[in-house]
């Protein structure tokens, strides 16, 4: 082209050279969840490259747990997965039970499942609210979602005594029995959660701008999702029906009748829809569980004062709101775990961020990060 005699010779003007701009988003930025930091390399508004930086929230939860009694380490699960504490606790106590050969009584199993599913609802409400804010809704989705989340947190506080750091599950059962009005409260909370899900559905699902901002943004194919180790709603949005509650039923999940919502596109919109639907499915599970819940003890008859599981190792994985949450536990026969390793669902889902974002606009980077729904404490541990 430069040699075409009919055209003026192209001159290279160094002053007009365009350079890519590095934009740092986070760790202190309104759009980053937690203290996640990403450096965007942008050409104008288009993202050319993305470098995630994690570790700002690293507190060594795994290492700290090695110097604690098996029961003391429960609290660290709350602090690791601070939006789905009951789910994380459930995974941990089940790993310990597997290691120590404890069998929790029926009632404890039901209480745990009910609370874990309610916690999934509250976590998804948190996502729905924050996702709307990421997209620029001026807090309306946030307050709608938080109204429902407050109901759930009030219930959790009544049960465990704390709004965030419950530490309520124990290896072999739960710490104490639920309050006398638990059944009515749970039923009421379930009704409210459905109302809240409907409100958010009305506000966002059919909103033209919402669709324009999320549909086909951050697409992920099933193969890529599996390669990245993605799980949970991120994986199910791609269309793969993989849910540990159905495929590898732990606790008493095999007794309940529920559907697994899957998307077809693998984009941000599908991830949103899958979570919205999971709220309804969780309500379904909770309603069945609350009807079946028996009376009885909440801890086994013979519970040793100090847990000393025999030497061995165990890997327990559970379906958390954000995906597969795994606990790998090695025992050397002492009262403390020799090694505790957490398989973080957010971390693996976050790995796909760059793959999904490159080629989209800066505004979409925020959308996609929001649609992954990370908990940074879980990423950094």
């Amino acid at each position: 082209m430069t040699n075409d005699p009919d055209l003026p010779a192209m001159t290279y003007d160094p002053e007009l050279e365009t350079i890519d701009l590095n934009i740092n988003i986070g760790p202190q930025h309104p759009a980053t969840h937690g203290v996640f930091r990403m450096v965007l390399v942008v050409d104008g508004e288009r993202v050319e490259d993305l470098v995630p930086h994690i570790g700002y929230m690293h507190r060594g939860a795994e290492k700290l747990s090695e110097h604690m009694d098996y029961r003391q380490a429960i609290g660290y699960q709350d602090r690791t997965e601070y939006l789905a504490q009951f789910n994380a606790e459930l995974c941990y106590v089940q790993a310990v039970e597997k290691l120590a050969g404890l069998v929790p009584p029926e009632r404890a199993e039901y209480i745990r499942v009910i609370l874990a599913e309610l916690n999934r609802i509250s976590s998804h409400f948190m996502f729905l609210g924050a996702f709307g804010t990421d997209l620029g809704v001026f807090g309306t989705s946030f307050t709608y979602a938080f109204r429902e989340r407050e109901n759930l947190l009030d219930l959790f506080e009544e049960v465990s005594g704390d709004r965030l750091m419950y530490a309520y599950f124990r290896p072999g059962g739960v710490a104490w029995d639920v309050p006398h009005n638990f059944v009515e409260r749970v039923k009421w909370v379930c009704d409210q959660a459905l109302i809240g899900a409907k409100d958010l559905d009305t506000l966002l699902t059919d909103n033209e701008i919402f669709i324009a901002r999320t549909l086909n943004i951050g697409k992920l194919s099933i193969e890529d999702a599996i390669d990245f180790g993605a799980s949970g709603p991120v994986l199910r949005a791609c269309g793969l029906k993989f849910d540990l509650r159905r495929d590898e039923p732990y606790s008493i999940y095999d007794r309940f009748d529920f559907d697994i919502p899957v998307g077809s596109n693998g984009d941000s919109y599908d991830r949103y829809l899958v979570r919205l639907e999971e709220i309804r499915q969780s309500v379904r599970i909770v309603r069945q569980a609350i009807d079946q819940m028996p009376d009885g003890p909440i801890l086994p008859e013979k519970l040793p004062r100090a847990l000393r599981p025999a030497a061995g190792e165990v890997y327990m994985r559970c379906e958390n709101p954000r995906g597969e949450y795994g606990i790998y536990l090695i025992s050397r026969g002492s009262t403390q775990p020799y090694r505790l390793r957490i398989r973080s669902s957010s971390f693996c889902n976050l790995a796909a961020l760059k793959h999904m974002t490159v080629g989209h606009y800066v505004a979409d980077a925020v959308t996609i990060l929001g649609s992954i729904d990370i908990v940074l404490c879980e990423v950094d541990r």
Partner: protein
């Protein structure tokens, strides 16, 4: 009010003193309006979001704006060490002064504005276009990448949406045959322009939201993307000039402009003659207040419920939809006004053509942004429900 009465009673005043007093009055009214608007928005949006809004400062939080003003004015005025001194310090004023200057040409009551300009409409659109320079100055001078990105975004957005805005008011001025705001208002004594020209009215509303960088068009200052855009480094009094004065004075000014040009201002339902003689200005004021409040609340409602558009979607909407239809409207207006002499047929033709264009624009927008139906979007999930 004394000034209004002087004017009505024909008290002769030194022309400079008169101008000065009118200016003082508009500054006071603007400041009070801005504080009231901040309170109204916080309460209104709060109610939409099932919150109470400010409740602690004063009865029902009415003194919240005062408390905010005191806090902002006494706050340290920070400037980044690497900022360009003059550009950084001047940018808020460059942003605010044009907004204030648009207020000078608005006739809030019959024969009462700061100045009755023969080319009032032209003046307003010309002056309000300067605001963008302040955005770019601030974004460049802040030495901050978010600010730079926001400034570039605002340059693209504000300049683009200036054109549909101009086309919308131009269409109306063609119908009125004047650029004088008083003439445009007087001409709407039976039918407001919003009925004759629904398409320009809609374009004006949309372009106003974009010009003011309000949600869903707050792309230049998008909180979750560029953290406040050009204004990210500003604090204290400078930030209050931008945020409080510019944003809300602009909202007020544009709402009053829309109510005057499209909703008939103080003229429409009752005519100028009035029933109260010398105190006609009271109901005129009330009319303009009611109409501009309606527009302001509409904009606040839109702001509170919609997600933000992306910059490419915003620009496509402007250049591919608003602009062609704005031009079409002007061409059709020209033909109608040229060949139809009778006032009744002219009005009917204007309404019919503009309404038809509005429907066409809505349809084109629908086609261009058509998304899969709800059934198709959630099909996979509905299918998942049936499989156990």
């Amino acid at each position: 009010m004394a000034l209004v009465l002087w004017g009505l009673f024909g008290v002769d005043m030194n022309v400079w003193l008169d101008a000065f007093l009118r200016l003082q009055l508009i500054v006071i009214v603007m400041t009070v309006t801005v504080m009231a608007l901040i309170y109204v928005e916080r309460k209104f949006v709060g109610r939409i979001q099932m919150r109470l809004g400010p409740m602690r400062t004063g009865p029902y939080g009415t003194l919240q704006s005062v408390a905010d003003a005191v806090k902002l004015l006494t706050k340290e005025d920070l400037r980044p060490a690497t900022a360009d001194f003059w550009l950084f310090e001047l940018a808020p004023y460059v942003t605010f002064v044009p907004v204030f200057m648009t207020l000078l040409a608005l006739p809030f009551m019959e024969d009462w504005g700061v100045r009755d300009l023969q080319l009032g409409l032209f003046y307003i659109v010309a002056v309000s276009g300067v605001t963008v320079i302040g955005y770019i100055m601030a974004g460049w001078a802040s030495d901050n990448k978010y600010a730079l990105l926001g400034a570039v975004r605002s340059a693209a957005q504000l300049i683009s949406y200036e054109i549909p805005l101009i086309l919308a008011v131009l269409a109306v001025s063609m119908v009125a045959g004047s650029l004088n705001l008083n003439d445009i208002i007087l001409q709407q004594d039976t039918i407001p322009n919003a009925l004759l020209q629904p398409l320009p009215f809609l374009i004006l509303l949309t372009a106003t939201l974009a010009e003011l960088s309000r949600r869903p068009f707050d792309i230049p200052i998008g909180e979750s993307e560029v953290v406040g855009g050009p204004w990210v480094e500003y604090s204290g009094i400078r930030w209050s000039i931008i945020f409080a004065l510019t944003e809300y004075a602009g909202l007020w000014g544009m709402a009053v402009l829309g109510s005057l040009v499209f909703l008939g201002g103080w003229e429409f339902p009752f005519g100028t003659s009035g029933f109260w003689g010398d105190f006609d200005f009271l109901y005129q004021m009330a009319l303009v207040f009611a109409k501009s409040s309606f527009l302001i609340l509409t904009m606040m409602l839109i702001s509170a419920t919609f997600p933000r558009l992306r910059i490419d979607q915003l620009m496509a909407f402007c250049w591919k939809i608003l602009l062609p239809f704005g031009f079409l409207q002007i061409v059709i207006n020209g033909i109608v006004l040229m060949y139809l002499d009778s006032e009744v047929t002219r009005d009917i033709a204007l309404f019919a053509t503009s309404g038809a264009l509005l429907v066409a624009m809505a349809y084109v927008t629908y086609l261009a942004t058509r998304q899969p139906s709800r059934e198709a979007r959630v099909a996979a999930m509905v299918a998942a429900r049936s499989i156990q």
